[in-house]
Amino acid sequence: MTPRVRLEGLTARYPGFCLGPVSLDLAAGECLAVVGESGSGKSTLARAAVRLLDKDAAPGGRVWLDGQDLTALPPKELADWRMARFSIGFQNAHGWLNPSLTLGQHLEELLARRYPRAERAGRAALLAGEVGLEVRDLGLLPRQASGGMVQKTLLALALALDPDFVVLDEPTGALDEVSRRRVLELIRRRAAAGTAFLLVTHDVTVARALCARSCVLYGGRVMELAPTAELLADPRHPYSRGLIRSFPELYPQRDLWGIRPGPGPREGECPFRGRCTQCMPACATGVPELAEIGPGRQVACVRGGIAAALTARDIAKQFDGKPVLTGANLRLDCGETVALVGPSGIGKSTLAAILAGFLPPDSGRVLVNGEAADFARLHRAPGGVQLLWQDSFAALNPRFTVERAVAEPGVLAKLWASPDQQHERVVQLLRQVGLDPTPQLLARPTGALSGGQAQRVAMARALVLRPAVLVADEPTAQLDASGRANLLRLLKGMQNAEGCALLVVTHDPHAARKIADRVLLLKHGRLQPVDPDKIEQELEDAQ
C-alpha cells in the first residue's frame, strides 16, 4: 500500500544549517510528530514538506501526495493544490495574516475557492466553532485579536478545505489548557477522517496526546523514529534521551538538566557528535543513516543507539557463607545517572566495589562497553571506570597536598608532559568541583581539609582520567544538609558536563529521586527497578 504522504530525501541549505536528507512516510489518518530543540530544523522541514522554501535554500528531494509528486507539479497546479490538498499552519501567527482583513474575511477568502458565496459565512462559523473561536471574534482584525485567537484562525485556515495532508507548526503554542484540549481533539477527529498530519513541536506532551509515531530531529536529520509511547519510555538515541529527560512534565520530581552544551552539528559527521556522551572515533567519519533496531524503531547512530557503558550479569557474592548478592543484574547506559538504593548493610557498597572492579564477584560477569571488564586497564586509562569511595578521608593520603592528591592518577598514567600541564589540569578540575584553587589550598595537606572539601578533592581526582563510568559510593554520607545539596548538584552537573555514566549508591531516597534518571533497589541480593515516588515505601519493605 502506498502511503498517503511520502517525503523523500528532503534537503535544504542555509548558511550554517543543513537539512536532511529526511525521508518519512505518513499513512492516511496518521499523525506523525517531529520533535526537537529550537534550531534543530523542524520548521525548515515543515516548509520543505509543503514546498514553501525559497530558491536560496536550494530545496531538494521529493514530496509525494497520494502518488503525485508535488515537486513535479507546474506552479499553477501547485497553487491550486495548496490549501486544498495540502496545507500548513504556522506558529508565528501574525505575520501570515493580512492586517487589513478580519479573521472571518480570511476564512471566507479561502472558502471562496470551493464554496458558493451563500455557504461561506455558515462554513466559516462552523470552522470557528470547531477550533474554539466565538462567532463575534471573526469580526476582529488580526491586531485586535489575541495570540490564541490568531493561532486558532490559522488552524481553521489549514483545515478549511479538508486537505489530505496538513503540516502544523506548534499548533498549541499560544493556547491555554482548555483551548489546547479542544484543538487536539479536533486534530484527532480530522485524522480519524483520513487526513495525514505532520506535527512539528517541541512539546512532547502534544506528541504523546496525538501521535502514534514520533521522530526526533537534530541538526536537520532524523535521529530516531519510533512509536511515541516507546520513544518516551525508552529512548534509544542519546539525543532523544537528553531531550525527553529535559521535560518537567514527564519528570516532575527530578532536577532538570538539559543536554550538555557542546559544538553544534558539523558536516560529514554525526550531527550530535559534539554533545554526545558515547561518541567514538568512528562517529567523526560519516553521517549515520537511520537503521532498524526493533519493530517500528529506527535510530541514526554509529553505535546503534544508546550503548551500555556498564553491564552486570548475575553477580553473586557471599561473605563467610552468608549470601549478600544473589544474581544482581544491571545495565548502566552511557551518559546516564542511576541511583542504587537499599537499606544500610544490605550489600550496596559490596556491589559498588564489584562493579567498579575493586572486589571480584564469586560468580557473574561485569561488562564495560560490551566487553568483559579488564579493570587493570580500565582503572588506569582515560575513559575507564573510577570509584568514588565512601570515606573520602580514608581515600586520600593525609600527607599529600591537594595538588598532589588530585594529580596522582594522572601522574601514574603519565598523562602530562610537564608540571605546568599538570598544574593547569588540577586547577581546572578543582574549579569544576567548586573549590577555589588558591596556592594555599593546592599546598594544603588533605588531612587538614574539611569533610566537604575532602569529598570534592576526591571527586576531582576521580575525574582526572575522564572516566566513562563513575561509581559513587554514598557520596553524601559525611555531609550536612547544605553540603549534601551542593554535592548532589555538583555530582549531577559534573556527570552532565563530562557525559560519563554515573552510578550513585545511596540510602537517601530524596537524593536518588533528585538526580537519578532511574532508581534501582537492592533487595534480597538482587536489583529491581523502583518507581522514584515509592522509594521510601520500598525501602521499608526491604528492611
Binding site: G357, F358, F375, A376, H379, R380, L387, W389, D391, A394, A395, L396, N397, P398, R399, E408, P409, L412, A413, G447, L465
Partner: protein, 276 residues
C-alpha cells in the same frame, strides 16, 4: 602553633643537647687531649688533676683519653648495629607487611626463631669464637636485634598497605616501589627509626658486656674492657682508685645509654603513638 611545638619538642632538644655535649666532650679528649689512650703518660693510678682530668689507670694511661677513644668506638659500633638493624629489620618487615602471603609467613617464622633464642648465652658462645672481629660483633648484635623491628615494621606496613588510598593508587597502576616510597614510607620509617635507635643503646651495652666478659678485641679501647680491667684490679674497692678508674667508664656508659634510650622512647611516643 609554633609555641606549642617548641614546648612539645623541649625534651628532644634537651636529649640532643646532652648527646651533643657528650660527643663534644669526648671529641676534645680524642682529638685535642695531649695524652695517648694507649701509651702511659703519667704515674700509675694518679688521682684526677690538671694533667689528667680523670686520673690514670694502673699502667699510667690517661683515663679521659681512653674514655674518649672508647666513646667513639662504642658509638660507632652502636650506630653500625642500628643501621644494620634498620636495613634488615625494616627491609624484611616492609617486604613481609606489603607482600603478605608466603613472604610474610617466612619472615614471621624467622622473627619468631630469633625472638625465641636466648640472646646473651648465644652471644657469649659465638663471641668466644669470633668476638675479636668487630665487624662480626656488629653482625651478631644486629642479627639478634632485627627481629622486633621487623615485627613492628611489618605490622605497621600491613595496616598502612590496606588503606583506601593505597588501594586507589594501586588501581591507577602504581608499582610497589611507588607505593612504598610515596604512601607507606612516611608511616613506616618512624617505626624503623625508633627501633634502630633503641638498638643503638642496646648494642653499646651488649658490646660492653661482651668486652667485660673478655670476649671482644682485647686491644680495642672499649668501656666494657675498661670496666673489666678496673674491676679485676685486686682490692680496688679498698682504695680510692675505683672513684675514677671504675666510676668514669660506668658513668659514661650509663649517660650515653640513658640519652639514646630516652631519645628512642621519646621519638616512639611522638612519632608512633601520637601519629594518625
Amino acid at each position: 602553633m609554633g609555641k606549642a611545638i617548641r614546648k612539645g619538642w623541649g625534651p628532644l632538644l634537651l636529649l640532643c643537647a646532652g648527646l651533643l655535649i657528650l660527643t663534644l666532650f669526648f671529641a676534645w679528649g680524642a682529638l685535642a687531649w695531649p695524652c695517648s689512650p694507649t701509651q702511659p703518660s703519667g704515674d700509675s693510678l694518679e688521682a684526677p688533676g690538671p694533667a689528667h682530668w680523670l686520673g690514670t689507670d694502673d699502667l699510667g694511661i690517661d683515663i679521659y683519653a681512653q674514655l674518649s677513644r672508647g666513646f667513639f668506638s662504642s658509638m660507632g659500633l652502636g650506630l653500625a648495629c642500628g643501621a644494620l638493624t634498620a636495613l634488615i629489620g625494616g627491609g624484611l618487615g616492609m617486604l613481609a607487611g606489603y607482600k603478605g602471603g608466603g613472604v610474610q609467613a617466612a619472615v614471621d617464622l624467622a622473627v619468631q626463631v630469633f625472638l625465641a633464642v636466648p640472646q646473651l648465652p648465644v652471644l657469649i658462645v659465638l663471641g668466644a669464637f669470633w668476638g675479636q672481629d668487630r665487624r662480626l660483633v656488629i653482625g651478631l648484635i644486629a642479627a639478634f636485634s632485627w627481629a622486633p623491628v621487623a615485627k613492628q615494621t611489618a605490622a605497621k606496613t600491613r595496616s598502612a598497605a590496606h588503606r583506601t588510598y593505597v588501594q586507589a593508587a594501586r588501581s591507577w597502576g602504581a608499582n610497589s616501589w611507588y607505593i612504598l616510597k610515596n604512601h607507606l614510607a612516611a608511616d613506616v620509617l618512624p617505626v624503623v627509626l625508633v627501633g634502630a635507635l633503641a638498638v643503638v643503646g642496646k648494642a653499646i651495652l651488649q658490646e660492653s658486656a661482651l668486652a667485660y666478659l673478655g670476649l671482644s678485641d682485647p686491644t680495642a679501647k672499649s668501656w666494657g674492657l675498661m670496666i673489666n680491667r678496673a674491676s679485676r684490679f685486686a682490692g680496688i674497692y679498698f682504695t680510692d682508685y675505683w672513684k675514677w678508674w671504675l666510676a668514669a667508664p660506668v658513668a659514661a656508659l650509663m649517660l650515653t645509654i640513658l640519652f639514646t634510650r630516652l631519645l628512642a622512647r621519646w621519638l616512639e611516643q611522638r612519632l608512633l603513638e601520637g601519629s594518625v
